[in-house]
């Protein structure tokens, strides 16, 4: 049996953890760009975080918030075998444009390596994996309709087959990200069952709607 052990989310104004019902309005005293300096979201320093591309930053925030919601700490020690799947509708398009436009603008003689490394759809997942010590599978997945439930099903499969102890699924939208931690049940109560998560994410398109429906379902006690 697989459950959703934690959910983290962030947008341009707030961030939160769904199971513990934390919600922080950061926009009153910080911006997305300096959030990591103003609020201690990361338990350990994320080296060079300010130089990550924006997709990687959104991904890392959502991932760490989901881990925290699941009561899994971020330590330098060996962690359970956790993997990560990132999904979005346009992959690394924004970073691709930034990299190549800079290369062209600079005369097509020398590309910038620190921009090139973000031109893979997996780069945000990889940054999260490296800095949060996620030794499990690292993937980017999407279908033509940006259906989150399909990605969750694939991620759950890794846990069911014993290829990971838990899996993070992170969905990145424009100025928004959602992280879901899937795992086998633990002493801490889960947020909801996998079935409920699949049902809600199959019906809803955007992160806001997904969070609202999940919250509603859990509040009603309809399936936890």
């Amino acid at each position: 049996m697989i459950v959703v052990r934690g959910i983290g989310w962030i947008d341009a104004e707030e961030f939160g953890r769904a199971r513990t019902r934390d919600r922080v309005r950061y926009c009153d005293c910080a911006t997305f760009n300096n959030l990591w300096r103003c609020f201690r979201i990361f338990e350990l320093p994320m080296n060079n975080f300010g130089r990550f591309d924006s997709s990687s930053q959104w991904t890392c925030y959502a991932a760490v918030l989901a881990l925290q919601d699941a009561a899994i700490g971020h330590t330098r020690e060996s962690t359970p075998q956790i993997g990560i799947v990132v999904t979005s509708c346009d992959g690394s398009l924004k970073s691709n444009l930034e990299y190549f436009a800079d290369y062209v603008h600079s005369g097509r003689r020398l590309a910038r390596g620190h921009l090139f490394i973000y031109t893979l759809p997996t780069s945000p997942a990889a940054e999260a994996a490296i800095h949060l010590r996620l030794h499990g599978p690292t993937l980017y997945l999407t279908d033509g309709q940006n259906t989150l439930s399909r990605v969750i099903a694939v991620a759950a499969g890794f846990v069911e087959r014993g290829e990971a102890d838990s899996m993070l699924v992170v969905r990145v939208e424009d100025a928004k990200a959602l992280g879901i931690l899937l795992a086998r049940p633990a002493p801490t109560p889960p947020f909801c069952t996998l079935q409920k998560a699949l049902q809600v994410t199959d019906q809803c398109a955007g992160i806001t709607a997904i969070l609202d429906r999940l919250d509603e379902a859990v509040s009603r006690g309809s399936d936890t």
Partner: protein, 382 residues
């Protein structure tokens, strides 16, 4: 439920077809040549594994020029209800180049979901396809996911389609990272200096044994196991100790129940960079101990075909199992001490041909390993 490879084809710098690729590998010939497609003078090399006949000035992207003829021919082999998985790193990134250089193409046209839709249209496929990307392990990862879905009964039939091309976008990027060899790549060579970029397209139709029998399909081979891991080290540099890749290989062995003594050959990632090849040999030695396993890389022959590499290498590994011959590692003249006794310089016959391991590693510390078994029947054109 067994996962069988019932149909496959590929296009590389050698040309089209598995037979041509296999014979060319055995001959030791390299298909890496000078790039004429864009100006390489500012970059570290002018060599790449270029497919003859592709025209970057046509309206069709390089990937579509590679895929369209192959998939049109394969259409009769691929059921319309097959789940189509596109595995790629950059896909039609040449369309993004055009959007910036010529302003004649919307950049969104380069998204992988658009390429997936085009592929499904060629195949008249009505499934809700999937895009799988895992850096240079993309198509290996797609095969592993497909095998998992079939084994669990969630799918009966998955068509893994892969394509990546040599573009200025990619070439300049690898050059900026100082990863490119000035002359054609020499995997596992003592004096290796880097990789050669390449381009390729391939597809493989994976099917459950039950459906393959029902449809009287002949099988090319079986995907018996897989493993994933992350090095947790660096965005571009693999871990020095090889533990991540070793973990992926051990997952594959454990999941399949195959003993390491039964692995008779390894189709390595073998890019030709100092760090990757050293890491791989450490991983192989960690898993297999002092028993050298015949190991080869094809990237000195056709270049590093990025996301497509894994599927091309899987097809070659299945052929190698079937023929009981391990091809030479084209480009390698004097193996690195860590690779001596393992890496093949000439074609070698195998006393046993039970299982083959195929490994892929990518940026961000990604590692994927596949365990393969041949099924007698041939890997000629479908």
């Amino acid at each position: 439920m067994k996962t069988l490879v019932v149909s496959c084809d590929l296009l590389t710098a050698y040309g089209r077809g598995i037979d041509l690729c296999w014979q060319s590998l055995l001959s030791g010939a390299s298909a890496i040549s000078r790039v004429r497609r864009f100006d390489t003078r500012p970059h570290a090399t002018s060599f790449a594994g270029i497919i003859p006949g592709l025209d970057a000035t046509l309206s069709d992207s390089l990937c579509m020029q590679m895929l369209t003829p192959m998939l049109r021919e394969a259409r009769s082999q691929i059921p319309t209800d097959a789940l189509v998985m596109l595995a790629s790193t950059g896909g039609e990134v040449d369309l993004l180049e055009r959007s910036i250089l010529r302003c004649d193409t919307p950049a969104e046209e380069s998204c992988l979901t658009r390429l997936l839709a085009k592929i499904q249209s060629i195949l008249a496929n009505n499934s809700q396809g999937l895009v799988v990307s895992a850096a240079c392990g993309s198509s290996t990862a797609a095969v592993a996911l497909a095998a998992a879905m079939i084994r669990e009964g969630r799918e009966q039939c998955v068509a893994v389609v892969t394509c990546d091309s040599v573009t200025e976008f990619v070439f300049a990027g690898f050059s900026s990272l100082r990863a490119l060899a000035e002359s054609p790549a020499a995997p596992f060579d003592r004096d290796r200096t880097g990789l050669s970029i390449g381009e390729a397209a391939a597809y493989a139709l994976l099917m459950s044994e039950e459906r393959a029998l029902r449809e009287r399909r002949s099988s090319r081979g079986e995907v018996v196991g897989w493993g994933f891991s992350n090095d947790v080290n660096h965005m571009t540099g693999p871990s020095a100790d090889g533990n991540g890749l070793a973990a992926a290989i051990l997952h594959a062995l454990k999941a399949s129940g195959v003993r390491k003594e039964e692995v008779d050959s390894i189709c390595a990632h073998g890019t030709g960079t100092r760090y990757n090849d050293a890491m791989e040999m450490k991983a192989f030695r960690r898993v297999f101990g002092d028993r050298p396993v015949p190991t080869y890389s094809i990237k000195g022959a056709i270049g590093h075909t990025l996301g497509a590499a894994g599927l091309v290498e899987m097809i070659v590994a299945l052929r190698s199992l079937e023929e009981k011959v391990v091809p030479p590692t084209v480009g390698c003249r004097c193996p690195d001490p860590s690779a001596r006794g393992w890496v093949t310089l000439d074609a070698e016959s195998l006393a046993h041909s039970r299982y083959a391991l195929s490994t892929s590693s990518g940026f961000g510390g990604i590692n994927v390993a596949l365990l393969l078994r041949a099924i007698p029947g041939g890997l000629s054109a479908p």
